[in-house]
């Protein structure tokens, strides 16, 4: 029998593979189309490249959120604390990008 934590890990594993593949393929497809079209401005395609890379970057963060929620439900406060520390570092990084 699969326990809930294992099920979550399997689901997140699938999510990470899907997120990385989708992000990389989306951005690559947009770059290839732009190269084929030649010189010019393609805001839609440029957005696609950025969105693909953003998807790739967000994938591990989604996984972290899921583990955080699971740790709260299981009252594993040391893991909650560690994940909160990671969120603080990520928030500082986001602040750096936006600031």
């Amino acid at each position: 029998m699969v326990n809930p934590t294992d099920r979550l890990a399997r689901f997140l594993g699938t999510l990470m593979i899907a997120g990385s593949l989708a992000g990389v393929l989306l951005s690559l497809a947009a770059v290839v189309i732009m190269v084929c079209l030649g010189a010019g401005d393609y805001p839609g395609l440029e957005f696609m490249v950025g969105f693909g890379i953003l998807l790739l970057g967000v994938t591990p963060v989604i996984m972290l959120v899921a583990f955080f929620v699971r740790a709260v439900q299981e009252r594993r406060w040391d893991t909650v604390l560690a994940a909160s520390g990671l969120f603080a570092v990520l928030a500082l990084g986001l602040f750096k990008v936006l600031g």
Binding site: D6, A9, R10, L12, G13, T14, L15, M16, I17, A18, G19, S20, L21, G23, V24, L25, S27, L28, A30, V31, V32, M34, V35, C36, E46, V49, G50, G52, I53, L56, G57, T59, P60, V61, L64, F67, D78, T79, A82, A83, G85, L86, V89, L90, L92, G93, L94, K96, V97, G99
Partner: protein, 258 residues
């Protein structure tokens, strides 16, 4: 970007992913020197692209390990990752304070360390871990080394597995396969804050990063499939020589443009 450049970057990524998977190192250690020395991408942009490829490989590999179950020590990873991510954020910001030649020389030193790491793993596969209770002193050492690995990752655009895997295996006593899987899981979470510094300076060239990441992801997947059929000790020695040559060239370029 011209079609030839796109193909060159993607094939470089493919090579980096393939070799990285066969040698047990991340793609960044090959991809960053390739971009800088062969394609001529400035070192800061090459490092940012290296982090994107690290992110894609980490997500793909950690996803597979999570689905298989029992290999990733999530508890240890999340605790150590706090220091690794903080190091990554600092490294990604600090690299902006350093001139290109300084980063190139730092990278050359890291390549020499990677050479030694690969030669040692070829001569003594697996190494010797120390299972059992982990003392507070060892835990502190692990945190310190993960912080250093994070800084290195942020500075040079590599995954930091060459530091994190030995820490997990030798210092914390995790089995080698579990150490590799846990390190892969951690790399992605280190790369995200490290990238923030590069993005804020505008060093991330998406049009270089996208084909590189796709190439590395495909190469790593092929490498993982053919690894059982390849005689790795001989290959590792050859790869160590290649890395030594790249280290020499990078140091020469760095000193030349000082």
């Amino acid at each position: 970007m011209a079609p030839v450049d796109l193909l060159l970057v993607a094939s470089g990524g493919l090579l980096a992913g393939l070799v990285g998977a066969l040698m047990g190192v991340g793609g960044g250690i090959v991809a960053v020197p390739f971009l800088n020395l062969v394609v001529g991408v400035p070192i800061h942009s090459a490092a940012a692209a290296g982090l994107i490829s690290t992110l894609s490989v980490s997500c793909g590999a950690a996803g597979r390990y999570l689905r298989r179950g029992g290999l990733v020590d999530i508890h240890t990873a999340l605790h150590l990752e706090v220091s690794a991510a903080a190091g990554g954020l600092f490294g990604g910001i600090a690299v902006g304070w350093l001139r290109g030649p300084v980063v190139q020389i730092l990278f050359a030193v890291t390549l020499v360390y990677a050479c030694v790491h690969i030669v040692r793993s070829a001569l003594r596969p697996g190494g010797g871990s120390t299972p059992g209770a982990v003392s507070p002193a060892r835990t502190l050492v692990a945190f310190g080394l993960c912080l250093a690995a994070g800084v290195l990752s942020g500075l040079l655009g590599i995954g930091g597995g060459i530091v994190v895997v030995p820490v997990l295996h030798l210092v914390l006593g995790l089995p080698f396969k579990s150490a590799t899987a846990t390190s892969n899981f951690m790399m992605g979470l280190t790369a995200v804050p490290a990238l923030c510094g590069f993005v804020s300076r505008g060093d991330l060239d998406l049009f270089t990063a996208a084909p590189l990441a796709a190439g590395v992801l495909l190469g790593a997947s092929i490498g993982a499939r053919i690894m059982p059929r390849v005689k790795t000790p001989v290959l590792k020695m050859g790869f160590a020589l290649l890395l030594a040559a790249a280290a020499f060239e990078m140091a020469r370029k760095g000193i030349g443009t000082w």
